[in-house]
Amino acid sequence: MTDGPALPSAAGLPASSAPAPGIFARQVRRTFGSVLAVADVSFVAPAGAVTALIGPNGSGKTTLLLMLAGLLRPDAGQINVAGFDMASHGYEARIRTGWMPDTLGTWDALSCAEIVTCYGQAYGMGKAFAAERARFMLERVYLAEYANAPARVLSRGQKQRLGLARALVHDPQVVLLDEPASGLDPRSRIELRDLLRALAEAGKTVLVSSHVLSELEEIADHSVFLQRGQSVDIRAIQRNITQRGWRLEALDPAALQAFLNAKNVPWRPGSAATTEVVVNLPNQESALALLKDAIAAGVPLHTIAPVSGRLEETYLSLDGERQ
């Protein structure tokens, strides 16, 4: 976001080049009545990086983002956003934050450009500047051609992109995105990924919650796992992941199966559409050893790859109690 119309310093927002602290949360807790939504969350999301917020449904991701956006007061704990303590300087933190909710509502009667302009004005920009900024943001999310179309004609994916333009209109220091990839087609996901990387490179703090783990793996520098309202120590989890699934595929499936049986390696059939098999191996060294043995034994092996990404492994190893 370093290009485009520069924000006036009168808007009370730091210049986009200013070094910015990210997000810091310690022992954050929030209940709704008797329901404990966020029990004990501590994490750090540094500036200039994309941090992924991962967890099953009901693990407290949305509630946590609401607290970070300044809309919900934590019952206990400390939150620091863009260098401001939420408890004492919530307003300063709030106006430096761009928040995109998981379900974005729009005003049906207004055009896309008007909606984004309106949010620019809500952040204190003058009308002309907000309109210019809106035009730039819509171009940035590839919605320029819909600028004068009412928001109701947009598809779900386009609405997500409109929501993104809206959340970024004031060039926030901290960007909080709740499921931004949902409803996006593959091309849009790649564009989103590029946009988030560009934001991080511009020094912003980007926190993304998502279920599309393969996407997150590519863009996230850090990950925060939530499980039943608690942040999970990832290193502990990754230590516990003793075995990963590996996908093997050979030109002669029968030879591969015979080889594995001979080596006494347990295997199971992989995807039904292929002849691949899946084996569990403790680490990369054992994968390399198996590969060498297979080549030596003359098995026409052409593919060996981990079944899933590391995030997915971690995710699945959470004793995922979906609520």
Binding site: F32, M67, L71, L72, M86, G90, L110, C118, A122, R166
Partner: protein, 414 residues
């Protein structure tokens, strides 16, 4: 936090956002068109009660006064019904559509969001008031209604519509669904207009006591003596600047009536009528009642309501202030004048004679503590309405303030 910080640009951002949505909705304009035709029909119906031609040529102001009063009541009543439509859904429907939280997350303060929404629903409701101007102008054109009256009525209606909009805004901040806040806003309107009237009637019925009322007046003997003095004076010949005697008001006393009856103590319950917007508009309008035999009378609906409410405040048990008002002494009708003199008019066998002005007298201060029929009640009503509006507006702001602490059941942040 910045809950109460307020800036013009913040309010205008919310206001223009709200107005754009209203203006682009065809429904608003269709409703406005229907309303215009409907009010035209009402005006036409009222004018059928009277002979318009004669009214204009004969200079009879009664038609226009009736027309004006009826239009005022109708505009008021319909605005009370229209205002909730635009205000009662404002916050809750934004919440339902998931756009409120993203606004709350911006620089806008809770009071700016509330004020922007209030002003927008107020302005849209006012469009309905403005649409009736041609018909009010018709009443003015017929004569008998002054522009000043039109201005006062319009101002009062503006304020009352703002009150209903604020109540609607307050309910829309509390309710979890638009339908609930709309119902509660209509119930509030019903409470202020009809239910307080029922409570007033019920409460007043309980205040009846059987008692003998006292009047502040000259004792019969003194009244007879004064009548005799007047008889003597009018029987003599006088020069042009001679003055008849003034009534001896320093001899006024409380005289108990010689009969007892069920007295209704409306002076204890009159304030229940204060909330009613119809009472406020009727009482605030500077219509002219006329006096007959010291009694205030009215010939148009606004003044009828005005006099009715003011008499409930005075109450029956206060008796009559016969020393402060015009009275009959034998054949003489004695009217107090502002300068301390009295206009004394004799009604002889050949009808009334031209009045003679009495000598000036110092009128002793009346112990008659009660209110006068000329004392307005609307400032109290307006004040109570503004207080209610303030309570509801504060409520709306409190419910819009972020970060949320305790969330009411059924309410989601986003």
């Amino acid at each position: 936090m910045n809950t109460w910080s307020i800036s013009l640009s913040g309010i205008s951002t919310v206001l223009s956002l709200e107005l754009k949505q209203r203006i682009r909705s065809k429904k608003t304009f269709i409703a406005l068109g229907v309303w215009f035709v409907f009010m035209g029909g009402i005006t036409w119906l009222i004018s059928q009660f009277f002979d318009v031609e004669r009214s204009i040529s004969g200079g009879e102001p009664q038609l226009s006064r009736w027309l004006f009063a009826m239009i005022t009541m109708f505009v008021m009543g319909m605005c009370l019904l229209v205002a909730p439509v635009f205000s009662a859904s404002s916050i809750v429907s934004d919440r339902e559509h998931g756009v409120l939280a993203t606004l709350q997350a911006t620089k806008l303060s809770a009071v700016e969001i509330a004020a922007g929404k209030l002003i927008s629903s107020w302005l849209v409701s006012l469009a309905f008031v403005v649409a009736t101007i041609p018909y009010i102008a018709y009443a003015v054109w017929l004569g008998g209604v002054t522009l000043w009256q039109v201005c006062v009525v319009t101002m009062v209606v503006f304020v009352e519509v703002a009150l209903i909009c604020t109540i609607g805004l307050g309910w829309s901040a509390i309710a979890s669904r638009a339908i609930i806040s709309t119902v509660f806003t209509y119930l509030s309107v019903a409470f202020m207009t009809i239910i307080t009237l029922i409570i007033f009637a019920a409460a007043t019925a309980m205040t009846q006591t059987y008692e003998q009322v006292s009047d502040w007046r000259l004792p019969d003997s003194v009244a007879r003596r004064y009548t005799a003095e007047l008889n003597t004076w009018f029987a003599e010949q006088h020069s042009d600047n001679a003055a008849p005697p003034a009534p001896p008001l320093n001899e006024c006393v409380w005289v108990q009536r010689d009969y007892a009856y069920n007295v209704t103590h409306t002076e204890y319950t009159w304030w229940l009528l204060l909330l009613d917007p119809f009472v406020i508009v009727a009482d605030a309008t500077p219509t002219s009642s006329f006096r007959y035999d010291g009694m205030a009378l009215a010939d148009d609906p606004l003044t009828v309501i005005k006099l009715a409410v003011r008499s409930t405040r005075i109450g029956e048990s206060a008796g009559e202030d016969r020393c402060g008002t015009a009275q009959w002494y034998g054949d003489y009708y004695v009217q107090p004048r502002a300068d301390g003199t009295f206009a004394i008019q004799r009604y002889g066998p050949h009808g009334s004679e031209s009045p003679s002005i009495s000598e000036a007298t110092i009128i002793p201060e009346s112990p008659f503590g009660g209110y006068n029929i000329d004392d307005p009640v609307w400032p109290w009503g307006m004040a109570s309405n503004l207080l209610i509006a303030a309570v509801f507006f504060r409520l709306a702001v409190k419910r819009l303030a972020v970060p949320y602490g305790v969330l009411p059941t059924g309410q989601r942040v986003a």
